[in-house]
């Protein structure tokens, strides 16, 4: 299990989009992750970014609210 530091979040409807500075090679849509309280969340989707400067930032749309500074995948 790896820990990913959340660099930013934004609410999208009932869900949360989290940004991590990691290419996230080991997850895909439908995978799960744990927040720092051990609460599991479903990964609804992993976004594609028009970020030409840093292609290793990944935006992950997670089901529900996440009040966490890091997640475990």
């Amino acid at each position: 299990m790896r820990v990913l530091k959340i660099i930013d979040t934004i609410k999208i409807g009932d869900n949360t989009l989290i940004a991590v500075n990691d290419p996230c090679e080991d997850i895909k849509n439908g995978s799960g992750l744990l927040d720092e309280n051990g609460v599991p969340h479903v990964i609804l989707s992993i976004a594609t970014n028009s970020n030409k400067n840093n292609i290793n930032i990944t935006n992950i749309l997670v089901e529900g609210d996440i009040e966490s500074k890091q997640v475990f995948i």
Binding site: I10, A19, P23, I46, A47, N49, I55, I57, N59
Partner: protein, 192 residues
């Protein structure tokens, strides 16, 4: 009297009209400045003093990319909404994306985030990504995301003229394509 001109020479030509003119440059001039004829400063017959100055027009930064015209963007937002999707552009989204240095992000086939005043290439890229999700090309894995990015950049380059993408944007797209292709190569090496 104000004369709009695309270059000092053009303004001078417009003003000159057979008179002798002293030209004073009050600031370094770029294209699209405004020329001002200062008062009635005729020194003698057929002789005018002219000051050319840049009026509150800051030069654009080197990395400035022209945004998509608002009407075109509104039409795209309307069309995307008609297909059941949503393009989110607001203060929170703008801050979220700009912190990452991104202009847009596509979450799935129906949800696109864009900065305020996005470039043409950013808007079209996100529309391509939404379509890729719709066609099932993106399952969220790093591999499929990279393949989608590579495909999107290639489409943008190929349709540059059709989409009205500027040369500057196109150069950035080419660089991004290179970066994604290299990353894809590295990913395959790591998986061997």
């Amino acid at each position: 009297m104000h004369i709009e001109a695309d270059a000092p020479q053009e303004a001078i030509a417009k003003l000159y009209n057979g008179y002798n003119i002293d030209i004073y440059l009050s600031d370094e001039l770029n294209a699209s400045h405004i020329v001002e004829l200062v008062g009635n400063t005729r020194k003698s017959t057929n002789y005018y003093k002219v000051v050319i100055k840049q009026l509150n027009r800051k030069s654009k930064p080197i990395n400035y990319i022209e945004p998509m015209p608002k009407k075109q963007l509104q039409r795209i937002i309307r069309d995307f909404k008609a297909k059941g999707g949503v393009i989110l552009i607001n203060d929170d989204v703008d801050e979220f994306l700009r912190k990452q240095g991104a202009e847009g992000s596509t979450l799935n086939e129906n949800t696109i985030l864009l900065v305020k005043n996005p470039s043409r290439s950013a808007v079209h890229e996100e529309l391509i990504h939404a379509e890729q999700y719709r066609k099932g090309k993106n399952n969220g894995s790093r591999r499929s995301r990279l393949l989608c990015e590579i495909e999107a950049q290639k489409i943008l380059i190929r349709k540059k003229d059709e989409l009205g993408i500027t040369d500057k944007e196109n150069e950035q797209t080419k660089l991004a394509l290179k970066a994604y292709e290299e990353e894809y190569k590295q990913l395959n090496k790591r998986r061997r």
